[in-house]
Amino acid sequence: MWHGGAEQNVDAMIGYAVVPRDGVRMKKIINDPSTVVEESLAGLAAAHADLLRVEFDPTFVVRTDAPRPGKVGVVSGGGSGHEPLHGGFVGRGMLDAACPGPVFTSPTPDPILAATRVVDGGAGVLHIVKNYTGDVLNFETAAELAAAEDISVEAVVIDDDVAVKDSLYTAGRRGVGGTVLAEKIIGAAAERGDDLPALATLCRRVNARVRSMGMALTSCTVPHAGKPTFELGEQEMEIGIGIHGEPGRERLPLEPADAIVERLLGPVVADLPFGSGDGVLLFVNGMGGTPLMELYLAYGHVEKLLAAQGITVERRLVGNYITSLEMQGMSITLLKLDEEMVELWDAPVHTPALRWGV
């Protein structure tokens, strides 16, 4: 019923994840699937030693100046493969620490707990958690363990993906592009001195006002799997994908950019709903392998469609910020802004991936 069985020699299996036995390599600049996350983090640390350092046992990324006494620590994390999220957002005015798990696998409680301890400056720690069963469960356990050490922890779950039909009886919606915006805004609020309950409330408010939807032109290859997660025909695309290379809600024939944009934007706008008079932050995100030429082209069309509905783009972000490895594709995120959010978005930030005002 399943392939192989107990009679196979386990030794022959060890190292399977290393260079596949037949010498087949992937189209990736990596050495070994079993060390890709750590090697990449080592590079991040080497490149941005002024901002952050990386601990490896357990693995987390943390600001060089943590803990900051009196400041709430802001921690996020999740599987790797979404770079620059989350490690690339560690630094002044954004995350105090990030916990990267293996590729597409949420971290275990150990690194989350360790990061939580390191960034606690006495004012408690906020966990920003993307809504995936694994992330939620592991952050939950870490928070319980931290509480047992008298660290105040609040967790806010981000679930902005309108591609997933929500229901009381399901795992709910995924956390996707809205996470980047929440991390920036909450990071700025923490930097200005907001306390833990205020930050949690603000983060829930951001989550309540942000919606996203994504699509893929190609699949991606998880390093330890060694082959594309799904097969997509030359003339096909997936609509309603998340950020883990999982297939989406629908497979459709390829379409022009304008039609793709409309497929994504329609459900996003309708869901909140966004409406005439709203000021929004528009985030056009690439899935990792989509060049800026295409993202700006899409951005232009989204802005026009929004303008036609009386929705004003007050702030924007265009680029590959929350990704699925080398997947080609994009997502559109809209956040309904208020004055406070604009101010916090504009506040100085200095991280490997986002920087302004510094």
């Binding site: 399977y16 997933v164 799997a225 989406g248």
Partner: protein
């Protein structure tokens, strides 16, 4: 015919081997309706569990074996399966606390506690297309068999059969929990990876029980070519 610490180690070893052998298969199942990591995650976790057990002194209690496995799974697997299997082993360990060896009702209690742990953490019910769809019938079958006086090996064989049936029954289901739920209707037609690894868990248990009685060195595989 008491189950000893050594039997549990043999079972855990057998499960680690099955998972290693089926790593790619579980990745493939997860690729179809999830994110292609279930086999990799469990394999990493069970290797860590084996490392935890490698330096276990012979006199540790059965509960300690399961506690070590739980710790390894919680701290090395991550994702959804890490906390779920970790909690299952932790609760099973709790159910066996203080027992130097286990009888059939103890094993049934441990299995039941494991299932309760999965449900407590994951909030899935039968039919959600998760590992619960294999755990629940397996726990029920073991309990009924032991209540009816079936010896442990037979009860665990019944549990493994039930788990595999539950696993197969996930194929037509539309997922309501876990990552597969994001696919909506497209999740139907695929076997749940977690239910599959759970069926492997019960089959490993049954195989070890079938091989022989407690005590002594590594059990010899029985009835193999």
């Amino acid at each position: 015919m008491a189950v000893t610490t050594q039997d549990l180690v043999t079972f855990v070893t057998a499960y680690a081997e099955v998972i290693a052998a089926n790593r790619a298969y579980l990745i493939d199942l997860d690729a179809a309706i999830g994110d292609a990591d279930h086999g990799e995650n469990l394999d990493r976790g069970m290797k860590a569990a084996m490392a935890e057990l490698a330096d276990a002194p012979d006199e540790v209690a059965p509960a300690e074996v399961l506690r070590r496995v739980a710790t390894a799974l919680v701290s090395k697997v991550g994702g959804a399966a890490g906390p779920l299997y970790g909690t299952a082993f932790l609760r099973a360990s709790g159910a066996l606390r203080g027992k130097p060896a286990l009888d059939a009702p103890d094993v049934v209690a441990a299995i039941g506690a494991g299932l309760d742990g999965v449900v407590a953490r994951g909030k899935a019910v039968a039919g959600d297309k998760t590992m619960v769809d294999a755990w629940e019938p397996a726990a029920r079958a073991a309990e009924q068999a032991v209540s009816a006086g079936t010896p442990l090996a037979g009860a665990l064989a019944a549990a493994a059969d039930a788990a595999e049936e539950g696993m197969r029954a996930t194929v037509p289901l539309v997922a309501r929990k876990g990552r597969a739920s994001y696919l909506g209707e497209r999740s139907a037609g695929h076997q749940d990876p977690g239910a599959t690894s759970t069926a492997m868990l019960f089959r490993a248990m049954a195989d070890v029980a079938a091989r022989g009685t407690g005590g002594g060195g590594p059990a010899e595989p029985a009835g193999q070519a």
